[in-house]
Structure formats: C-alpha cells, structure tokens
Symmetry: C2
Subunit: 384 residues, 2 copies
C-alpha cells in the first residue's frame, strides 16, 4: 500500500504548491508518471541483476538527480553522463559512480574534471586519443587517480579509437600513468539502437560484438584485460545481455520510452518490456477552424530531430499533431473543433526523450491524475 | 570611442570570471557579438523612426532582459512575448510595454495574467475567441484594465479570428468590457516571413495586406477603429513599412540573424541590412577519421527544425556540419583531421535563432575576441 501523501507539493523542501489535478497544470508541461517510471527502473534492474551484470544507466536521458538516486537505490553502480557539466550537476546532488562517456579535451575542461574527481567518488571518463590521455595524466595526481575507459569506435566515426591495436596502445598508456586508473573499455553502438526490426538489429549487433571481442583479445594480449566492458542501449539491451560480452549496461531511454523506441520491437516477441512514463500535456488555445485546433506546444516544447509527437489522449481518435512554429502545434481531425474547446488539455507522446527533456526546467510528477511532486531537470542545458 | 572596460566579468553584478579569449570558453557556448547586436538594434530603430512607426520587437527570439532593455533604450515602445511565462520573466527584470502575442486561455493562466497586469505598465494580450474575451473581462477589473488586441488570422489557421466580421464583433465585445482596454488589431504573417525571393514574399504580403485593410474597414464601420495595427516580422519589414498599414512592428530575429534569414533577400537589393551577431562555438573532441572530426555540439546545442548549421569559422573552407546525435556533430572536409586537432574551437552559425537560444542558459557576450559579459537567457524554457 502506498504511503499517504500530504497535499503540499514541495520542490526540494520548498513549498511550491498544492496537489491538484493534472488538468489544471500550466501548459506545456513535462509530465512524469511516477508508477510507470518506477516499474521501468525496477524491470531494468531485475534484467541486469538476473544476468549478473552491472547497471550504469545513462543520465543524459533524464538529467535528474531524483531519477539517478532512484536508479542507484534499485542497484545501479552509478550513472553515465554525456558531458562534464552534467556530471558536475549530478555530483552536486549526491550522485556517485559517474562515468563521462565522451572525451573531455580542452585545458579548462580538464581542470574542471580533475576538480570534480576530488569531490566525488569513482569518477571516470573515456579517452580515444594519446594526446588527450597525456593531458589527463598530467592534470590528475597519483593520490587521487582519475578513472579512464578506452573508448572504441563501433564504426560510427563519432568517438573512439579506430582499431584493436589503437585500443591496446591507449590502454597500455593509461596503465603506465600513475595518476590514471584503468577501468576497462567502452563501445556504444549508437546507430544500431533504433533499427526497428529486432532481427536486423540483432544481426548488426552480433557483427559489432564480434569486433568488440577482437578488441578485448588485443587488450588481453597487451596485458590490459578490461575489468569492465561498458556500453549497450535500450534498443539492444536484450541482445547485448544474451551475447554476454558487455559487463556493464549504459541503457538510458528505458526509464521514459518515447515514440522512437515505441516503434522498435525491443524483445523480438513484439512485447514492450517498458512503459511510457513521460508525456507533454498541452492545451487548446485557438479553435477557429473546422478541422484543426491550435495547442500551445511547438518547437520549444518537443525536440524536432524525430517525427512530430503522436497523440496520447484528450483528442478524438485519429487526431494528428503537426508543428505550427516555435510556440504552437495543431491537432488535425475531422470536426475536431466541435470536440475540443479552448482551454482543454491534451496529452502528447514524446518523439525523442533526451532532447525533449532538455527543453524543460522540471518534471511535473503525477500519480494517476494528481500532481505529487516537481523534480528539477537538474542538468538541463549543462552541455558544456 | 568605446569606454574602457574592467577585466571582471559579472553576471548581474556578481563576479563570475575574468575577461579572456573566446577560444578558452567551455563549449558548446552561445556567443553574442556585442557590436553587431547593437548595430542591428540601432538600424531597426532608425527604420521604424524614419517611417514614423512604433517598434515593439519580439522577445520570443532573445528571451533576454538585457537585450530588451537595449531595445527600449533605442526607442522601442515595449517588447512582444509569445507566452505569459516569458512576459512574467521580463517584467521581473523591469521590462515594460509587454504585449503577449498568443491567446491566454486557461483559468490559472488568466489569474497569472491579471496578477501580472497589476505589477507592470501597459500589458496587453490578444484574443481571438468571444468566450476567452468574456473570461478576461471577468478576471480583470475596471480600475486596472487589461490591454487587448483582436488577433486576425492571415490564413495560417494558427491563431486569430477567421473574418473581418468576426474581428469587428470581437472588437465591439472588448470595447463593451469596462475591465478591458481596446488597443487595436494584430495580424502576423508567420508563413510568409521566410519566402526566400523578395518579389514572391512581396506579392504574398501585398495580398495579405489587402485583406488586413478589409479587416480595418470592418472595424472602423463597427466603431472600433484600431489605434494600433501590430504585426510584421524581420522577413517582411521592408515591405510592411512601404505598404504603410501596420503602425507597429513586431520584428524579432533582426537582432541576431540566422541561416534561415541569411537565405532570404530582405531588401530586394540582395543587400542584408542586418548582421549575424549570434554563433555557437564548439570544440573538436575526437579526430580519429581522415575526412571527419567530431565536435561537442549536437541536438542539444542547435534547434533541428531547420537545416543543420553552416560553418562560420575555424574549419577548412568547404567544411560541412552534420548532426551526430544529441551531444555531437561532425565537420566533414577532405583531410580535415590534418588541419584540426582535438581541443580546437570552431564557430558555427545558428540555423534558426529562436529555438536555438531556448537551449542555452546564457549568452557569452564578446567584443572582438574578448569575453566582456554573460547575460542570462532570462525567459529560457518559460513556454508556460
């Protein structure tokens, strides 16, 4: 049975409002359905635990201290961050076991990284370049070594070393540096995550995992056997677990799900292991046309790197959302202006969760229809 | 001659750093070139003043108290806001003459609007619906009337009344309401602003201005002659000034310019009256491929509703940017990895300024190569 909750809604201790209906929230608003979130967190934790794998969810998705702490409480060893600024923000909120999955290269950023390493436990970062490895080794100190993973390019040409030989050389360089702590190897198959067919995705990952095995063999031969092999995403988690090469899962989007992952068969059995927990509630603000109503959510309310959002509720069946500029969208359906009036709320799905979350300062957390909390998007905009 | 400046960089009075080279900024960073900004502000102010028109720049573009105050100092009568939350944030910074260009419809939002009207001078909002007009009239009070413009749809079907008759009826309703102050009429031709050919844009605007004249005639006939006819955008400002129907200009993007407006001939003479003042500086973080280097700016650093950003500087001629996901992009050019090393900064243009600005917490303001100030993006994320 759930604990009885107070009527107060507090933002980190400060009273910011009273519980009320989701319908009454100012819009557009990023709504997080608490029970669905917690079920997603528990399901992924169970999958990792049953497989005997470390779970280090990617926090670039949620950028939230509150969600990271829930993931840690469910057994995660830490969280991943895409950027140093994200890691700084989460560390300030008490999140530990932070791993930065992109190289940190400039002199001012390396200074910040070393300073962060002094005030948080078990920080790590990737390297894919000997010069960068040298710079990290010079900036860090042996009394407080910085954790380092060698990043391997799976063929995307985004980050990572380009060959098993380069991985082995870089790992040896890390091991020779007394101010660095060699943690292992990272390979993230970013472009495979959203292949919609499970069979096609699996074929691609089997191929990339063969390559990863050759990288690990080169590391072992160089005396740099990786204690941790980190990578994996929500799209490939079942496949990666089955193939058994990764020892740590960096899954991110499973906490929320979105239109992109809803289009992917994640299990090969057309069953989705995770639920949508994240939506955007918007509101009709104009209804002067027959087939169309205008809502208060546009380019500043949804990321636009994917298809426009699908409609989750509040509108007639078959209603379709189109963007109408920075601040507006339209819902289109026959006779919709007879069904929806100005002021009516509608619920939209999230096209791509990570960059959509990055548009908002806070999650409005609901249980059923009721607002129960507001959580800041702690690291919003912390891309530096 | 410019005033001598101190070495201190202060954010609203608080010392946050020392002046230094733009090259040393943590990236990705939104860089505002101060002299170009001020020249743009002055040029538009001159154009409006020479034509005898009111200037009320749209602050949805910049969301900045600092820029709004510069626009007011150059003669603007106020600034426009797309959303109530924007207006609240700018009012708190001392910006007056705020006009909200989208309807405010829900009961909680109308409460906030009336509260804002009590604490700021000359606030106005649009209406396009009699029910909404009634709700505003009931919430406001005759001792502190709320300014109201009738919003006219130019045929986009986004917001606005759909006919001259509907405009006249709504204006009469506003005039009958003692708690509302009838300000005039608004028509914004959003879909015409980015027509690239000046002649095609002009033909479209001539047609829409004929329609606007018919709306004004209906208002005059109903005893609701508009004191102010507000609208216009950066794309159509020359045409709107020449046609002489608008009495107030809502131009926004001219302060920054962007790739979208750079592709438009704004004068009919292939001369751009405004300069680019806004860029994103990014940094090479990986360079393990021959034709490609990876930079630290992706979907969270640029809006993605337009084409990817063009390259402004720091990279070989002909280098092209492509998105590489949420956090990364690539610069592609033959042999680029021989020219650019990890840590090197590159400067990118802004594809579409409004939603790009909305991704950042602050402007890093430079004079030449030197950081001279940091201004908050005051109303960032204030879409509610």
């Amino acid at each position: 049975m759930a604990e009885p909750v107070s009527d107060d809604v507090r933002l980190h201790g400060e009273l910011i409002g009273r519980q009320g209906s989701r319908r009454d929230l100012n819009t557009p608003v990023l709504v997080l359905e608490l029970e669905a979130l917690d079920r997603n967190i528990a399901r992924m934790a169970d999958l990792a635990s049953q497989a005997g794998l470390r779970l280090r969810p990617h926090a670039k998705t949620h950028k939230s201290v509150d969600i990271a702490l829930r993931q840690l409480a469910a057994g995660a060893v830490g969280v991943c961050c895409a950027k140093l600024g994200e890691a700084e923000a989460l560390a300030a909120g008490g999140v530990t076991g932070l791993h930065i999955t992109s190289p940190v290269v400039s002199a001012p950023a390396i200074q910040r990284l070393v300073a962060l390493n002094a005030r948080t436990e078990r920080l790590s970062v990737v390297v894919d370049n000997p010069e960068n490895c040298d710079a990290l080794a010079r900036a860090a100190t042996p009394d407080r070594p910085l954790g380092v993973f060698v990043d391997v390019d799976p063929g995307i040409r985004r980050t990572g070393v380009a060959s098993p030989e380069a991985a082995a050389e870089l790992a040896a360089q890390v091991i020779r540096s007394p101010s660095l702590r060699y943690e292992g190897v990272q390979m993230y198959c970013g472009s495979q995550q959203h292949i919609e067919s499970f069979a096609d995705r699996k074929a691609a990952i089997v191929d990339r995992t063969d390559y990863l095995r050759s990288v690990i063999a080169a590391l072992v031969a160089a005396g740099a056997a990786p204690a941790v092999v980190t990578g994996c995403g929500t799209g490939t988690h079942r496949i990666d677990i089955e193939l058994g090469v990764f020892t740590e899962l960096q899954v991110g989007s499973y906490v929320f799900m979105d239109d992109q992952y809803a289009a992917c068969d994640l299990t090969g059995e057309a069953a989705q292991p995770f639920e949508r927990s994240l939506r955007v509630d918007a509101r009709v603000i104009s209804a002067n046309a027959e087939m169309l109503v205008t809502v208060d959510a546009g380019f500043k309310a949804f990321s636009t790197d994917a298809d426009p959002p699908t409609v989750a509720g509040g509108a007639p069946d078959g209603a379709r959302y189109i963007f109408m500029g920075d601040e507006h969208g339209a819902l289109i359906a026959p006779g919709i202006a007879q069904t929806l009036r100005i002021g009516d709320p509608v619920t939209l799905n999230v096209p791509h969760c990570d960059p959509t979350v990055n548009l908002y300062d806070s999650y409005h957390v609901v249980s059923g229809d009721t607002l129960v909390d507001i959580w800041p998007v702690t690291a919003r905009g912390r891309s530096r």
